[in-house]
Subunit: 769 residues, 2 copies
Amino acid sequence: MIETGTMEQMLRPTADPAWLLATEGYDPLRESSFESRFAISNGFLGVRGGRAATRGARWVVPARTYVAGLFDKSDAQHAIPELIPAADWMKLRILLPGGALIQHPGDVSSHRITLDLQRGALLSECSRLKAPDISLRLRTLRFVSLSDRALGLQLIQLEIEEGEVEVTLEASFEGMNLGLASVQIDQHVGVWRTEHSGKSIAMASGSSLQVDGHDLFGTALGQLKSSWSWKTRAGQVVCFERSVAIVRSDVEAFNPAAAAIEKLGAARQLGWHGVTAAHEAAWASRWLLSDVLVDGDASVQQALRFAIYHLNSAANPGDERVSIGARALTGADYHGHVFWDTEIFLLPFYIFTWPEAARALLMYRFHTLDGARAKATRMGWRGALYAWESALTGAEAAPAQAIGPDRQVIPILCGSQEQHISADVAYAVWQYWQATGDDRFLREAGAEIILETGRFWSSRAKLEADGRRHIRGVIGPDEYHEDIDDNAYTNVMARWNVRRALDIAALLHERWPECWQSLASRLDIGEAELKQWRIVAESIAANPDPKTGLFQEFSGYFELERINLADYAGRSVPMDVVLGRERTQKSQVIKQADVVALLALLPNEFAGETGAENFRYYEPRCDHGSSLSPAMHGLVAARLGQSEKALRYFRKAAAIDLSDTHVAIDGGVHIAALGGNWMLVVLGFAGLSLRDDGIGVDPQLPAAWRSLSFGVQWRGRSLKIRIDQEKNRLEATLESGAPMMLVVGGAPPRELRQGNALQVDLSAELAPA
Amino acid sequence: MIETGTMEQMLRPTADPAWLLATEGYDPLRESSFESRFAISNGFLGVRGGRAATRGARWVVPARTYVAGLFDKSDAQHAIPELIPAADWMKLRILLPGGALIQHPGDVSSHRITLDLQRGALLSECSRLKAPDISLRLRTLRFVSLSDRALGLQLIQLEIEEGEVEVTLEASFEGMNLGLASVQIDQHVGVWRTEHSGKSIAMASGSSLQVDGHDLFGTALGQLKSSWSWKTRAGQVVCFERSVAIVRSDVEAFNPAAAAIEKLGAARQLGWHGVTAAHEAAWASRWLLSDVLVDGDASVQQALRFAIYHLNSAANPGDERVSIGARALTGADYHGHVFWDTEIFLLPFYIFTWPEAARALLMYRFHTLDGARAKATRMGWRGALYAWESALTGAEAAPAQAIGPDRQVIPILCGSQEQHISADVAYAVWQYWQATGDDRFLREAGAEIILETGRFWSSRAKLEADGRRHIRGVIGPDEYHEDIDDNAYTNVMARWNVRRALDIAALLHERWPECWQSLASRLDIGEAELKQWRIVAESIAANPDPKTGLFQEFSGYFELERINLADYAGRSVPMDVVLGRERTQKSQVIKQADVVALLALLPNEFAGETGAENFRYYEPRCDHGSSLSPAMHGLVAARLGQSEKALRYFRKAAAIDLSDTHVAIDGGVHIAALGGNWMLVVLGFAGLSLRDDGIGVDPQLPAAWRSLSFGVQWRGRSLKIRIDQEKNRLEATLESGAPMMLVVGGAPPRELRQGNALQVDLSAELAPA
């Protein structure tokens, strides 16, 4: 039996408005953007925030459900894999004698949709819905469970205000014949398979309806469709509940129907309140570890919560065979493909707040290592060259052509030339290992990634007449410039990668010699090769100009045309669209943080004041033509003490998904920009850094912020850090784990122990040495 | 019985490649563009060039059929009307024992789609289609009849090359539940209705299949779905034919099912070859009157044929209740709404080659006059202010907001401020009447339009302290500048409109006094009002600068920031996107021909050399941010003798729909740009003009053209004109009708009679006076 009182409570959003994001009414122009922004996800299932109960019969696209890893190709040979949405399991119609209650979302007055960030749930409310003979209130809730990722729940409550009419509530699935081939669709379960990738999914569904607390028998209409009919009366309360269990199968032989039915059975045994309680507990635990509190800037607080909500929604520590696409599971842009975004912009959040999720994401790269090796071999190099766009197998999934912002068909060279991805993956592996001390991961997966990518770069950099090794014909993070030589980001990251491969070889050899022997033998790495790597590491052309300390973004960059971007301040499109591709390629205009990204990732490569020099040179040359760019600039600005500029970058990045003047997020939220903003705040404003002997914090908060608090996971420990700017004090608390060292500003390391909170006077610590 | 030999012939495209436009293979990026470019239409039905037989099961959007006038609103109150596509009546699947023969268009090798411009038909061919046990050739044809616009036909021929398998051909409709509400769907007929506009359509369909010339009985599967099964053998020829009859009802009481069934029955009685013969004869007759031949430039010839094909496809002389939307019936952009495009860019083609179509288009404006009167009244003026975007009733259908090219949500003020539309409609009425001498139309409809629009302008222009009447708060054709005062185009056209209203009043009074009495009484036009119009006509601020001869585009324009557009030569987006809306509004950058359009429409308003002066001033300030702009500039350039520049404008306009580097036509062909290019050639290069005493021709061909030939309809006469540049000679032939006067260049009028072709030596005629 549905407990009406509990449901009543469930359908109310969290009381504190700082946890809520809402929109009212119906705005067809922005509907798609809201569907992305208000998406719910648990890293396995993603459901866009489309209307279910208030959608009406036609006109509006259904809310499709994305299933992580459910890729297919549109033909066997040529096409690239695409994430295929599953059917909408939430369709609902309320039928009155004169027809459907809602024909169109525009018919619904006073409609409010609320994303409850704290509970990971989407709620809606129609305060008074009127038809000729009836007036009612409608409230809905939906979530996909963070506790058991196979489960989704939909709750609907109707309160009849007046009217006695025969009403039918019809619950069904929609879009059952789009994209996937249906294998079987019965009353309670449907099975679909992909055309070419050998995957299938089952969706089992059960529902119930109560009128004033009493169960009503429904009519089974077949094919996942049921209906309930009753007569309304004033004051009546009707509760509808539908659960879905979704199981993906990766092998053709395994029909997932039975597993989905079993999952659903267990969930219905537990009851919707039990499922909800487990889901909310899982969210509470994620927030406990990952929430960031900003006192003194409500809009930053909301944008951060929004970012952390989507970051927590995007990952699944239980599935090593998938990673996070450029729009997570919130939209169709980039077809669910995985880019460097994950390793460089998302991993820091997971490493420091959710190491289990970080590990699964890196294991995806381990499982796709064969694809990376095959790509390197095919292109004539050794080791592993990761796919610029990765999907199921690690085979390159970048399209050969795409439609540009001006509707021009343009060739996409990234799939063959944007090779820094291999160093980016190695970088994330190293960071994860440094932060977690997860030696087992290193031995079983991480080492092989770093060795194989290091090997790739060693074969890739070619010795030339000048005695140095060059990496020619690449694209750096700045994608305006294609087929360039010696991209600073690429070369320095490559050198770093080769050096870490040498470190790993030495470390394994020393600490786990059997592991090293087995790995070296399997990968066929001998002393001669290690020696060659050492030579490569010393001779890659990857040094700044000795006079100015400036890295040249790539060979010949300094000689290109200087464009004064201030002259183009009014533009609302990237500069390559303004100047044309050809002229942009011949100019110094940069699409996104490139040398600046290098400064963010490897600050130690920039001696003395040269970090600031490089930022001063490159920042005005960047037009932020990528959503990845502003947060990365903000991170560097914050570390350089330019806090107000950094804050402007934060707001610029936050606006991408939260501004209503643009509707650029129809295709999903920009999860890397969200991850970048977490980095900007925690690694930038708080100055969190990894050190050999512990962690470092070096705060530089914007002037208006009163305090900043956040949690950190480090080598099995849980810390809370609070920077109180009013009192100019840092408080650090070790909540679990063995004692550790904390370095604040330029001061000597301090020991941090459980039960012994550390209070550091920042005015002393941050004073010039 | 289907005559195999005849079908064989039917499925071959016209032999002369100058009549064909083709594409091979499958290119997902360009598929939507090709669907627009290869659309077939007869002004009542429009079918996009999507695949039917080679589409496979999923993935690709079906080829929807547009029905002229089938508008609906997505809710009763707020939304704007949209053209709602009907179901796809051409879906076809070929099923083998192992599954469908084609799963995806990419599976099909050597696929060729050909648009046969001469026959108004779309053909396709798969030269060899292979499955494990069978190999076959597939050819298809489709058209919607130009002879009976309710009818569509689909022909499919399968030639089995090898393989003996059981095969099933399944023919069905698709998308039957999208957009429209289904009322009944039986085996042979479906009826759908709109939600809010009270319209319905019926689609009746019949089909047959023959194997080696023998009829095969099909299986009726209900709901417009049938199938045929047989066993293949090498050499077998299978012919499938499907007809559809579509009837629209504009009143709720009338169910169009019976009419559609009757139409279909008559067509099937006639047989598909009879239907085809009538359709092809209708196209032959259209080409006879409208073809334009360019000798010496094959690409111009093809682009012109393409333009004329779509112009002939877009109109329907039999339906006065619809007009031509901005994308005709080839795509969904602008929701099928009618703009000034029709009157200014399309009407000249129809007036001079298809007066019956022109008349129906103007009658649409007559039938929507009440909507225009209501809009004027609502805004506080008198007379008739036509909707900037018009759909069913003439009520304003412009949206309040739209998504800009950079995904920004921008307000749309055109619906209230772009008022020149009223003068544009009056202009087209006058041109039609001048060219056709259709006095009956003038008396019954045209006069009322010109009087009511003239009355609008007379109330709109307000007397101010300077003694002149000003029209403030408008948008001219140059939509970069909003809420401006005294737009030259608007004011001069308004003055022209008021003057023609006075002319019409005088003419009716003199020639048809009873008609005038009745009209003047119904419209309540008295002598006092006519007197006021005369004052207004004299005092509207609509004169050029007396010193320079330049019209100022609007008040204050000359003081705005000058932007050198050459500095932005590489850009691939309009200048408002580059500079931002705000700065663009404060600059002299012009979106499209504005004063230049005035020069094109009313050249006599530009004394002496001032036409050339104005063009010299305004041309470099225009960024052609509208597809309407290049052809209008080309027309003016051609008349000014700048033939090579005009030719560049022709190519620029033609590229909009024909270039494959951009894919900007997913939403339909730019019918106004196509009409504009016809104008550029006939009114520009040939210099065709209307005169009181006949027609004028004043040729200025591009140097490389050997000759230009075209037909003209004038006051019940049919002429052919040929300009032979090699011989520097013009040939004019009167093919039907009474003798008339022809003025070539600056020479005195010559008489033209049937059977007495005129040959004029252009070197003499065009010599400087």
